[in-house]
């Protein structure tokens, strides 16, 4: 990448893209983790084993 005066904008664009995509991935996985935890706590309380899905 030649030292184009505007290459700063390219870098910024790719950083934003990385942030947004990483944000989406992390949010989805974190949501899954908390849901699984709540589900296990609830399933334990209602006395019913429950397959909360993989991972």
């Amino acid at each position: 990448m030649t030292a184009d005066p505007h290459s700063g904008f390219v870098v910024a664009a790719y950083l934003v893209a990385l942030a947004v995509i990483a944000g989406m991935i992390v949010a989805t996985l974190a949501d899954y983790a908390s849901l699984k935890k709540r589900l296990e706590r609830l399933a334990a309380r209602t006395g019913r084993g429950f397959d909360a899905g993989p991972k």
Partner: protein
């Protein structure tokens, strides 16, 4: 004898996700690897815009995803209204935040791409403005999801709004274009121009597929989250009514 897996049934769908998610995730990674390599290293800078054309490889795919996700959401909305299937509800709700994220990415990359030429971060260019209105519609849909407690009712109401939105998007697109030409704004900015050199086409194709597979993977995982969220809500209500009736909640619960 295991019956044909009926992916409309949430339990079967969870098994599908457990199998398919890793596969699509690796495909996404591979596509991103190739796409980024082509986009950043292996393609020439544009003779006019120079390096900033590389932002196109993010901007155009995310614009395409913004529309694609809305189409997915609209078809899920039809699924909700016509077949009233909880999986369609989950599909619809899972798609909204992802669509909003892609639209936001499209707007930001568009602004970054135009900044060198416009001198400001935002210009009411016809296409960017239409994407901006689409972003407002996405935010409205997410807000509507958050306000209605009962998941079934929420899904049906949001489905109606999504379809109404779908009908209005072309109208908005047309009127924004006309509005833009009416007030012939100072800088008419051509987004990427009609003809793209072959060498620029390949990175664009790979990046677009990479984005699409990223969405498919995240969408599956998000649908699974919605299924679990609904199950938690139902179990909580069962727990409440069970203790009301004074009997411990040990009865089997159909895996609906």
């Amino acid at each position: 004898m295991r019956t044909m897996p009926n992916y409309a049934n949430p339990a079967d769908f969870l098994r599908l996700v457990r199998a398919a998610a890793p596969v699509t995730a690796t495909i996404t990674a591979i596509l991103f690897g190739i796409g980024l390599y082509l986009a950043l290293l292996d393609s020439p800078p544009d003779y006019q815009q120079g390096e900033t054309v590389r932002i196109m490889y993010l901007h155009v795919p995310s614009a395409w995803m913004a529309m694609f996700v809305y189409v997915v959401m609209s078809s899920a909305a039809l699924g909700t209204l016509v077949w009233r299937h909880p999986l369609a509800d989950a599909t619809q709700k899972a798609a909204a935040p992802l669509g909003a994220a892609f639209t936001f990415l499209c707007l930001v990359t568009g602004s970054l791409w135009g900044k060198p030429e416009w001198g400001t971060w935002w210009v009411w260019d016809a296409r960017l403005t239409s994407v901006f209105v689409l972003f407002l519609i996405y935010l409205g849909i997410i807000a509507l999801w958050q306000v209605i407690e009962d998941p079934g009712k929420a899904a049906r109401l949001v489905a109606v709004f999504t379809l109404v939105g779908a009908v209005n998007i072309p109208i908005i697109k047309f009127s924004v274009d006309w509005w833009n030409t009416l007030h012939q704004s100072a800088s008419v900015f051509r987004m990427g121009g009609p003809t793209i050199a072959m060498s620029m086409l390949w990175p664009l194709i790979f990046m677009t597929f990479a984005f699409t597979f990223l969405f498919l993977t995240l969408h599956m995982l998000a649908i699974r989250n919605e299924i679990l969220r609904r199950r938690i809500r139902r179990l909580s209500m069962l727990a409440a009514s069970a203790s009301e009736a004074g009997i411990p909640a040990i009865f089997a619960e159909p895996a609906q």
